[in-house]
């Protein structure tokens, strides 16, 4: 016990907690959690980034709070407590966005509120924070938020570039002058089904590279 108390803040174990959800245990591509919002907010990079950031903050902080309270939370009402913590965080984030990033909050509309139902959050609280100390839980939250964020940003990057010809609002395709060669934006990329297909391609790519992810027959 005393050994663990003295564990350095950025030990190999802590680093591993952060990095596994980025790749091998990515919440979206491997655990297939939270893909609903991943499809909805990835038309443009900006809302995707804000959404990724919001989810990361909410996951990390609620993980921390639940881990800190884990010995005091009655087992019988733990899911309710988890929900209250998540909902509080989400409302705070929503209020802050409305005050300081109004345009983005308008674009994200209901999806900020729907972070409450994002399976990644409940999953992490139940699976990790209820059984670990606050600091590792916080890092776990950051890692899972970032793992979610990376996928969102990749999907949004491709959809914005091919669908609207811009990157973070900057008209790349126009500057490159490809429109004069007869190139046109692919309207399909803006529609929700293409997010699913892009996500599918990412999962395919990741599985083909990482053999431990391939199910044994």
């Amino acid at each position: 016990m005393s050994n663990q108390e003295k564990e350095p803040m950025f030990s190999a174990k802590i680093r591993k907690i952060f990095t596994t959800p980025l790749g091998k245990e990515n919440p979206i591509t491997v655990q297939v959690l939270g893909i609903c919002s991943a499809l909805a907010v990835t038309v443009k990079l900006k809302p995707a980034l804000v959404m990724a950031l919001s989810v990361t903050i909410v996951t990390a902080v609620s993980n921390f709070v639940i881990a800190a309270l884990r010995d005091y939370i009655p087992d019988r009402i733990r899911i309710i407590v988890q929900l209250v913590v998540i909902a509080t965080m989400v409302i705070l984030v929503d209020q802050f966005l409305k005050a300081y990033a109004f345009d983005v909050s308008k674009q994200l509309s209901v999806f900020v509120g729907l972070i409450i139902t994002n399976c990644i959050l409940m999953g992490r609280l139940e699976a990790f924070a209820m059984a670990n100390k606050p600091w590792p839980s916080f890092v776990d939250g950051l890692g899972n938020g970032a793992g979610y964020g990376i996928i969102l940003v990749i999907v949004a990057f491709l959809r914005e570039l091919l669908g609207s010809g811009t990157i973070y609002g900057y008209p790349v395709m126009q500057k490159l002058g490809v429109y004069s060669t007869g190139y046109e934006n692919n309207g399909m990329m803006i529609l929700p089904p293409m997010a699913l297909i892009v996500l599918g391609l990412i999962i395919w790519f990741q599985r083909s590279r990482n053999e431990s992810l391939i199910e044994k027959k």
Binding site: Y72, R76, L92, K98, A99
Partner: protein
Amino acid sequence: MKHFSNRYIFIFSSVMVIAVATLLAMAATMLQPKQLKNLEIEKKKSILESIGVEATAATTENLYDKYITESLVLNSRGENIEGFDAFDIVLKEEEKKPLEEQHLPLFRATAENGEKVTIIPVEGKGLWGPIWGYISVKPDMSTVYGATFDHKGETPGLGAEINTRAFEDMFIGKKLFEDTKFVSVGVVKGGAKDGDPHNVDAISGGTITSKGLEKMLSDCLGKYNDYFVKNRN
């Protein structure tokens, strides 16, 4: 796993709920002024959009002061009522009153080409929730100078298309009056005929939103009939 008594569970949940409520109430109160400011800028931005002026959050205030010259509050007979600010009038509240007691807000602006236009706010119901917008008319009080619409939660790709430029621009040049009779602008399923001065194309797949928008225009603009008739030139 430790065992917790019912008493503990009750106390725990009560404390938790009170703590959370206090935190949220504080956050909401502290952030409210900033949020209200954002809504005000958003409203000014929409008003500017209806006369074809594109503004960003930073430039809205200046452009609003530059273009919008006057704001009035009318009654349903088209007479000016003193003592109210048109900007602060909430249409939804007004609609609950009988027509004779309603306050009708109106803005006047000098458009980019120097024309004096009149801007009228409209509000109605879409499929899932409220839709609203601003219509600007030329000095003849019949020709639409520009229009902008917005919605709370219409279906993306279908009803939500009402706030795209492509849809809004179809209203430019349409006539609200047929000779001297108010007819509003209709939204026609299957597309309006070329040169039809009173109709625009509906949105495919967004029939209820389109119908709601048509009703919103004829209801809200109709109340200004007397004002239009008196002030046309």
